[in-house]
């Protein structure tokens, strides 16, 4: 294969080239070429003069006003040229990123800065969130002050627990409770304490 630097205007885009690029992606490619230069030669067929690999790079470089580009020449018939055109961009033979790409991208973004990171469209490689349907409204929350009730917790020896149960039962047997609390154990305990405090007074 011959390698040489040629005038970019001498390269012809293959009329059958199936690869397309959006304006946004072309801008990203241009940023990449600005940053790192042409680090991969354009592939072209000496028989037809058509570009085989590198259509987008050539388009970007032309827009950038670049006059010359390194080329590697292949010598292929029509079908082989088309096959190589597709093979050079076949995603099924080019591998794929694994999960470590996220960490690598973070490191790169920190290193080159978010502006360059985005303009190179590296952000599009970051892991994508899931599709989720939002709710129509937020839930209601309690308003105002705390309700005048609370829970208390104690640690008791088994024998103490039995004593308390017995005392609570006696308090309950003394009659119905009055007041806003509907918890019978709480009411019974309060009655026991009230009796105790009265005795102490």
């Amino acid at each position: 294969m011959d390698r040489e630097v040629v005038k970019i205007s001498s390269l012809k885009a293959a009329p059958y080239n199936p690869r397309q690029i959006s304006g946004e992606a072309l801008a990203g490619l241009s940023k990449s070429l600005e940053r790192w230069g042409v680090v991969q030669e354009v592939v072209a067929n000496k028989r037809t003069g058509y570009i085989v690999g590198g259509h987008q790079r050539v388009a970007a470089l032309k827009k950038m006003g670049v006059k010359e580009v390194p080329v590697v020449w292949v010598d292929l018939d029509d079908v082989e040229e088309k096959a190589l055109n597709v093979a050079l961009n076949n995603p099924h033979i080019s591998g794929e990123f694994d999960d470590t790409i996220a960490g690598l991208l973070t490191e790169i973004r920190d290193g080159i800065g978010p502006d360059d990171f985005e303009s190179l469209m590296l952000d599009d490689l970051l892991p994508q969130g899931e599709e989720v349907t939002p709710l129509d409204d937020m839930p209601d929350l309690p308003d105002g002050d705390k309700e005048p009730f609370q829970q208390m917790t104690f640690t008791l020896h088994d024998e103490q627990a039995e004593q308390i149960k017995a005392a609570l039962q006696i308090a309950k047997d003394m009659g119905a409770f009055e007041g806003p609390n509907e918890n019978s154990n709480g009411n019974a305990l309060a009655r026991v304490c009230e009796t105790f405090l009265t005795m102490r007074a």
Partner: protein, 247 residues
């Protein structure tokens, strides 16, 4: 160029929020009593979540703002953002979320949140989002189990009845910083503690980055790119043994 103005903020279900949080939050855990779940969308994808709920230390925290009613404040207890969101999305998302909270819950006067320097960072995003700093204290609530190397929060130790052994473990080095956002600006006048200048974080050596002390230059530069990492700030590579309480 992607812009934070293009994000969409909307309420989401608890299950969606919890699923997201388990994947992205440094703790891998959720706070079970979270009540309000707000999603941050980029396109049709969920790329960030904020979870609000009652403060775990409600009796103590309520005293920070005098005359606050029992249900008059809420805690932003979990927050995580994906890497795809444009720059400054965190502060934009918080700003929108706070507007939503103010509109839906007029009885809420303020929002409290904690930056966990021992595992995370010192709250860069809070500072960029209009929170005021009200406390910097050495954190001893996260401790390392010497047998497993895993980290446990004091509240988890309490719930698991392991407080005795927990108290013998070594605490993670770091500070916990308490931030408050006033939904009702008038409530700010009732603060019972002084507002601490952000510069105090560095003066105290409390600037934290990924659970390690920051160089002073980094501490207040407000740079966001490496401040995401699925949390309010980057996290240290530590796995939690059980639910923790701070975000």
């Amino acid at each position: 160029m992607a812009s934070a103005k293009d994000i969409h903020v909307a309420p989401i279900s608890a299950s969606n929020a919890n699923s997201f949080m388990k994947k992205l939050h440094y703790s891998g855990k959720v706070v079970p009593n979270s009540q309000v779940h707000i999603g941050v969308f980029w396109g049709d994808r969920l790329e960030g979540v904020m979870q609000f709920g009652p403060s775990l230390c409600k009796k103590g925290t309520i005293q920070v703002v005098r005359d606050t009613k029992w249900h008059g404040f809420i805690e932003l207890n979990r927050m995580a953002f994906g890497e795809r969101l444009p720059r400054n999305s965190e502060s934009r998302a918080i700003s929108v979320a706070m507007r939503m909270m103010r509109k839906k819950y007029p009885h809420l006067e303020w929002v409290v949140s904690f930056a966990d320097g021992a595992q995370c960072g010192d709250g860069t995003i809070y500072r960029a989002s209009g929170f005021v700093l009200t406390d910097i204290r050495v954190s001893d609530s996260l401790r390392i189990n010497p047998d497993t190397g895993q980290v446990m929060h004091a509240i988890a130790a309490h719930h698991q009845k392991r407080r005795g052994e927990f108290n013998k473990w070594k605490a993670l080095d770091g500070y916990q910083l308490r931030y408050i956002y006033f939904l009702n600006p008038e409530a700010k006048k009732r603060l019972t503690v002084p507002i601490i200048p952000f510069s105090r974080i560095d003066e105290m050596g409390a600037g934290m980055y990924r659970g390690k002390p920051k160089r002073v230059k980094q501490a207040m530069d407000g740079g966001h790119p490496s401040q995401r990492q699925g949390s309010t700030d980057p996290h240290a590579p530590i796995t939690l043994e059980a639910n923790d309480a701070t975000g």
